[in-house]
Symmetry: D2
């Protein structure tokens, strides 16, 4: 299988390395508008045959079977559509598209053409998130209560998208994957501290059915780096701290229960429960390696990838609604 990569930013070389590490797979071409990125690839991976500033050299190459679209989000849709039109499977960088309409069209087109559409929700492939998913699926957490995620830093200010489109795809994709529920409402508040009008701070609330909610705080303007997620259930609670070098996932055997005080009465008594904390061993396989593997094997096996177009759509839908709510001063949107 020959892969073409369009857009070679920070992750580009890692993409190439990871695809190349699978037998029978090879990155045949890379395109980027910047000479220095192409030169870097030339130096690191002299076997890449096509190096071009014109993405059409990738999109129209008859030798290329599948295309990675890793350009700014505004170009995702047209590049993805063009790739599909040329009969190529596509791995879309996150967020998959700039709108839900685009997402729907992309999904439909891929289905019509019987081509694989996968979105690179990288965090889903990390050892930490996979371990948390395993714990949730085992039922150990009990009923899910809330998902709370903070991703703040003195981060790179983007000039084309705000902090919601830049950082929240991580948290929203993790939340979508772990909770596996339909969101009902989305609202967001936030602020642009500079003349660009691009929000650098935002809070997103997502309402699920009665007893479950999600909340995400993304922020480019914080003095310390925080990547902390709480996933709380009726039986156990998880703290996932991605900044921790080890012990990223901590499972607390803690909880609260309301019990009736007396049979006949409506009186409720709160009981607190505190037990051990377990930090399970986390597998260290590079997430991007598993992304590459999933893309390649879902194509070979002609099956939906784990993070398929629908997953991409669901994430874009929350981002889009959050952004709309932000524009309207925090108005709650029903989904």
């Amino acid at each position: 299988m020959n892969i073409g990569v369009i857009g070679c930013g920070y992750w580009g070389p890692n993409m190439v390395r990871n695809f190349n590490s699978y037998e029978g797979v090879r990155v045949l071409g890379v395109s980027d508008l910047r000479d220095e990125r192409l030169a870097l690839i030339a130096r690191l991976y002299p076997n890449v045959k096509i190096l071009s500033k014109d993405c059409n050299d990738i999109l129209h190459s008859p030798e290329i079977d599948a295309v990675v679209v890793a350009t700014p989000v505004s170009t995702h849709f047209s590049l993805g559509m063009e790739a599909l039109a040329n009969g190529k499977h596509i791995l879309m960088e996150k967020p998959m598209t700039a709108t839900t309409d685009q997402a729907e069209t992309l999904i439909e087109t891929a289905e019509q053409k019987n081509l694989t559409l996968m979105v690179d929700h990288t965090f889903i492939y990390t050892g930490a998130v996979r371990k948390i998913k395993e714990i949730i699926e085992s039922g150990d957490l009990g009923e899910l209560y809330y998902f709370d995620s903070v991703r703040v830093n003195l981060g790179l200010f983007q000039s084309d998208v705000n902090v919601i489109w830049d950082l929240a795809p991580h948290d929203v994709s993790i939340m979508d994957y772990l909770l596996d529920r339909k969101p009902r409402t989305v609202s967001a508040t936030g602020i642009a501290h500079f003349d660009t009008g691009i929000e650098n701070l935002a809070y997103i609330s997502v309402g699920y059915e009665a007893s479950l909610m999600g909340h995400i705080h993304v922020n480019w303007l914080a003095p310390v780096k925080v990547r902390k997620t709480l996933i709380c259930g009726s039986q156990k609670m998880i703290v996932y701290d991605d900044v921790e070098p080890s012990e990223k996932v901590k499972v607390y055997n803690k909880g609260v229960e309301y019990v009736k005080k007396r049979e006949e009465a409506y009186d409720l008594l709160v009981q607190y429960r505190t037990g051990d904390m377990l930090a399970p061993r986390i597998e260290l396989t590079e997430a991007l390696s598993l992304v590459a593997k999933e893309f390649v094997s879902s194509i070979s096996e002609k099956r939906k990838p784990l993070t398929d177009g629908q997953a991409g759509y669901r994430v874009v839908r929350i981002l889009e609604n959050a952004n709309e709510s932000l524009r309207q001063g925090g108005r709650v949107t029903e989904l």
Copy 2:
């Protein structure tokens, strides 16, 4: 000056101890509905003359000059009014009242009667918050950008008030004191995970003028204790971590600036700035001791206390609106 204390919960004995430590001040009476609390006071402070289950014994004692109202919030207003009616200065536990209407009536009545009305926003009197205020007033932070506070824990579930009325008074009073601005909008989302219908998790957003916002996360159902506040300005940024045994306040000389790339162009360039971090020495005087001192000296000096009725009103106003927004599914309230 003779003090009477109505309601002797967790903080009651500390209240007595702190008032007694000032010369010329004495706690003369304590009332509480629970025998064991009165017995505790009797044992620890044998000099307290009046120990009663009937608060009227405090409210109507001609010897008592000032009353501390430290009962559940639903009773604050009537007890405060009764104390004022009997010519007594009042120190109200936070939140000052259950509604803004009550707060306004209390303020007016105290003014008409020329009596001191103070609210016990304890955190305002901690060394950490006083140091942060000092830094903000020095102008070191530059223009204020945002206030973000997280107060979560596997905490005591209250049966009469939700987590907003229980925990957020701390954060809202700190925010009000430090920012010293008029809020324009309030919204809140949250959830009650148990049949009681009392919310145990809430997120509050407060909008100020264009470039400033506040956000508060309060939560009774978290596996770890977090009390962390970010106060971010254009020049410096503060992390206030109340769980830290030392170095509670860290001042980061970090920031972002947008500069024009060229004179004529509209092009903006982001510049990141990273400097030293300073953790100033924090004074360790017990906050409650300074609360007692401020109450006593504002009465003697016939001046408004630092945390006066207006401060109490402003806090209640945000809580009330947050609560209302929560009830309405997160609708944004204009103040």
Copy 3:
């Protein structure tokens, strides 16, 4: 059972409270040279009958059955002997005596008189140390490899004893209890930074049989508070961090194994093993409460207490030898 307490420092009031909390046990008398300490007891515990600056009022009171000796270490021996001479059981503050000779005499005398001699190695009674002991006894750690303890702080400089006699009793008693082995060698280095000639920094090495050693770092002159102990075995490793508010004990399923590469060869291959980390729930019962309970019940049940005179002796022996080694510039002492 009537208890008398000689020496009422920081822990004195807690001692009284804890003994009083057991039915049938009562603190009858307290002596201290300082009026203000006696006044404090009078206020907090009005039921204490004897309050005296003369310890003989305790030692010779016919009503008192057992005496707590909580004075400076230089007076431990004579007070303990006098108490035994008057037929009283004794609970000695740590370190039990100033020399091993004194320790031996005290043990013998208590045995001859059939009186209980217990030493207050408080840490042995904490939930954390009891949990670690339980884990070690279960065999989970495998073969014990080393014990490494750091106890540093900007601490109270003592004027009568050096940092070894002041802080190391904690670590040495924990080490003695957990390892349960005979030490063979002791050496220590350290330094007195001030004219008093009293060492404020010391490192103690204790050699056990071939593959086990202990090391203790005690220090009054450090900018941060550290109380961290590593207990490492062939199968698992424990980090005990007493400064942590929760998760004081962490058990790491980690290790190293040497395996033969080939049957005939002498070649060894190192294999590293990394698994889960478990922070077991720690019981929160106040250690001093269990100390009081053990003293009282070992007297009633006419059995040796958990921390008996021999435990006291073993700790004093290591301290004495460490101190001697320190005096001799670090010379290794064979025990």
Copy 4:
């Protein structure tokens, strides 16, 4: 200037990259016994002309001006001598040699031949250590009291050298650089937990003049990674935590002073001082880049490098004596 690198382990490719980044400098040849290391260099740095399994191809190349010796320590001396014999400047990996005798011969030979001898004490070139040196030289710490370093981990067990020769060169070189004093005594205790007889845990004490000492704890068998150094002075104290992603260096304005109570009396009163903590901004330049720069510029400028043969000798001397003391069960060695 043409550089040759002998031994291409973990750091090898970084060495090549850093030397190549300076104008007029070029890595011309690399030798290593392992084919895969040479292949890696060929791929990453196709400009390296000589790639050989025979180090003589480097040592005898007339085009090569300077040689980096980055092989196991047992071969350092002979390779260094051979390089000098061939008129080449040498940068020796740490520890410089396996014995002080070798160190002395190497120094003498380099001097006779007027060639540069530098040792790669990498940590000396980190932003953190340079900042600490700057603070010490400013006099801010006051009189130096002690240096305490802990470097533990579940680390790579070496098969040719023990943990002293493997890890302690870091701490000893930092200590030598920062304290800049003559050590008087060295002692060490430690233990080999496996049949190899190679110690995996060691404690090293270094005595300086009266009021200064150093202590180092190195350990391959610990469940957590610790790299923490305390450098304590009479005026301020530094905690250098190399595991911290930011705020690696913290300067505490804390201390203790003894003051005379009365003019005539010998009575001393302890006074504790607590002030701000400052975490200065640390420069992020890669240490190895500065190592390469210093080697190149000290050759060009015909001056001693910062970490010259004497620095290498001083480090080897402490390691050698520590190792000898360890062999003798902890006997104190006078230097």
